[in-house]
């Protein structure tokens, strides 16, 4: 018998991997994409170098927003205790 709750749990773990990959791409991509030139020729946003602004500041805020959105949309509430097994198989 396959526990419905585990199917949900497996999907959420995969979502976690997806998020961490997106996080990595934003963080790493902006940093070394925009920041690899000569530091003297950097453009600045709000006083910070552009690579830093996008990678560490805007990127972090975007990730927090994305995590919030993903949890609202895809994360399901399941009971953790055993006695309620039957109730959740229908959901």
């Amino acid at each position: 018998m396959k526990d419905q709750r585990f199917i949900i749990a497996h999907r959420e773990a995969l979502i976690g991997i997806g998020l961490v990959i997106i996080n990595f791409l934003i963080w790493f991509g902006f940093a070394y994409g925009l920041g690899s030139g000569d530091p003297a020729s950097y453009t600045y946003i709000l006083g910070f170098p552009a690579w830093f602004f996008y990678s560490c500041m805007a990127g972090t805020i975007f990730m927090i927003f994305l995590i919030w959105l993903v949890i609202k949309l895809f994360f399901k509430e399941v009971p953790f205790d055993e006695e309620v097994d039957d109730e959740c198989t229908g959901k």
Binding site: D3, G16, I17, V20, N23, F28, F48, F52, I64, P79
Partner: protein, 481 residues
């Protein structure tokens, strides 16, 4: 002594003691001492869970060591520190609901309980217990030393006195209050950490005359301070991205973090904790490290990195606020120490004493054993912290990476791969640890990558191959997945 600075610190300590005493009421009235003392009765809500994960993870190095390095390396170090953002959501999502459900089914109180039920192997229990005790004991000693140094520098007390003061305040509330006290004080400590970071960041920007001014001063001194490669170009993309494994995703393998992923109340707590935890970790890691960089023009010429944060705080903030901010590294150190102390004593009591020495121990005997073990460990740490032996310093240096190399696949594959078996787990644990020590000793930063990278990759391959080859030996041990 700076009394105005010390008063907020004292207030902070009094609150922490109060929490310990309050939590003790729960331990006394609980029907299951083990679940209550070591897990707080699995009752943590979202905010509490987020704060205790964050406070356990954010140690003295995030508040004292980290800003000091950022001071010498520039914005590149902040970039590297931001690799820690996944620590806020990744562990809870990956271990997730499956870990929470299975931990309840097995009545697991420690990570090792889970591994024992999953793999049914004494070798794994013993290997895990040894790695936890050896590595976390040394990690704890380092935090102990850090806490004492902090008190020493603030109060001008002698190091030994400072050490005793620090250790006794931590021991008292851990021993009387257990996990609930630890988690609740993490709530206070975590909040102090976030608030302290924000205050100091604002103070530093004002003292430096705005971000533009500070950046211009940095570029004038050395343009590399504002590049992602670090002041001397030492932070290569490969090194930074493999460091991401150690402090970002590899955190799944840390037992002190994993045990928190089995202690929350319900799904809703977990969802909230993911959001709050990510915001809190993002704020602290960004704030504290960027403060280190901004401090350079504000407070030039500091030779010892560890002094940057305390000196900066005393310079840019009025004394009372400085006290509040300096409570933050104090909080970070205490919350990490008490989580480690809890974990080591639960390993000794639950995983060794109850499994192998006296499985029929009564509630009363378990209680007594827990108090004795926690006290003895705490006092043993004092002896080592007074005069740290070289071996301990060396062990502490790679406690994080070592634990990750041992536990990450054993936990993650054990949770999600039904063919994972004890032979795979044992060989992978030994390979991970052995390789980690070997590379650390003989080829540090091999191929320009962080030391932890290869052990994690190779122990994964070993785990999968050995599990597949030995699958015929474990046919009868079906595992629900």
């Amino acid at each position: 002594m700076h009394w105005q600075v010390i008063i907020p610190l004292l207030l902070f300590l009094i609150i922490i003691f109060g929490i310990g005493i309050w939590a003790n009421q729960h331990v006394r009235s609980s029907h299951s001492f083990l679940q209550e003392y070591f897990l707080g009765g699995r009752e943590m809500g979202g905010f509490l869970l987020a704060m205790t994960m964050m406070a356990t993870y954010g140690s003295a190095s995030s508040f004292i060591g980290g800003p000091g390095v950022a001071y010498t390396k520039g914005l590149g170090w902040v970039l590297l520190a931001m690799a820690q953002l996944p620590a806020g959501y990744f562990v809870l999502m990956i271990l997730g609901k499956k870990f929470a459900i299975l931990a309840r089914r097995y009545q697991a109180v420690t990570l090792i309980d889970f591994l024992r039920e999953r793999y049914k192997s004494h070798t794994i229990v013993i290997l895990s217990a040894i790695s936890i005790i050896v590595f976390l004991f040394s990690a704890m000693t380092a935090q102990w030393v850090g806490g004492a140094r902090l008190i020493e520098s603030l109060t001008r007390l002698h190091y030994t006195t400072a050490l005793f003061l620090f250790v006794i305040s931590v021991l008292v509330y851990v021993i009387i209050g257990g996990f609930r006290a630890v988690a609740l004080s993490d709530l206070v400590q975590g909040s102090v950490m976030v608030i302290g970071t924000v205050i100091l960041l604002i103070g530093t920007v004002i003292a430096g005359g705005g971000i533009e001014n500070i950046m211009a001063a940095l570029v004038a001194e050395n343009p590399n301070f504002v590049s992602p490669y670090g002041a001397k170009g030492e932070l290569t993309p490969l090194y930074v991205s493999t460091f991401w494994i150690l402090i970002g995703v590899g955190v799944v393998g840390l037992p002190q973090i994993a045990v928190r992923a089995m202690s929350y109340k319900d799904s809703k707590s977990m969802h909230r904790a993911i959001i709050i935890g990510t915001i809190a970790i993002g704020t602290i890691m960004f704030g504290m490290h960027v403060i280190g960089v901004l401090a350079r023009p504000v407070l030039p010429g500091i030779e010892i990195g560890d002094k940057v944060m305390p000196l900066l705080t005393l310079k840019v903030l009025p004394p009372f606020l400085a006290g509040v901010v300096l409570a933050a590294p104090m909080a970070a150190t205490m919350s990490t120490v008490n989580a480690l102390l809890m974990l080591v004593s639960s390993t000794v009591v639950k995983d060794i004493y109850l499994n192998y020495i006296k499985s029929t121990a009564s509630e009363q005997e378990i209680k007594r054993a827990s108090f004795i073990v926690t006290t003895v460990i705490g006092l043993a740490v004092i002896v080592f912290a007074l005069n740290p032996p070289d071996l301990l310093v060396w062990l502490n240096l790679f406690a994080f990476g070592g634990l990750e190399a041992v536990f990450i696949w054993t936990v993650v594959l054990g949770l999600y791969w039904k063919k994972a078996n004890k032979y795979g787990a044992i060989t992978s644990m030994i390979t991970g640890m052995g390789l980690y020590i070997f590379i650390d000793r003989f080829y540090p930063s091999i191929f320009g990558m962080h030391t932890v990278t290869l052990p994690i990759i190779i122990s994964f391959i070993v785990f999968v191959i050995v599990s597949l080859c030995t699958s015929s030996l474990c046919k009868d041990e079906e595992w629900v997945i």
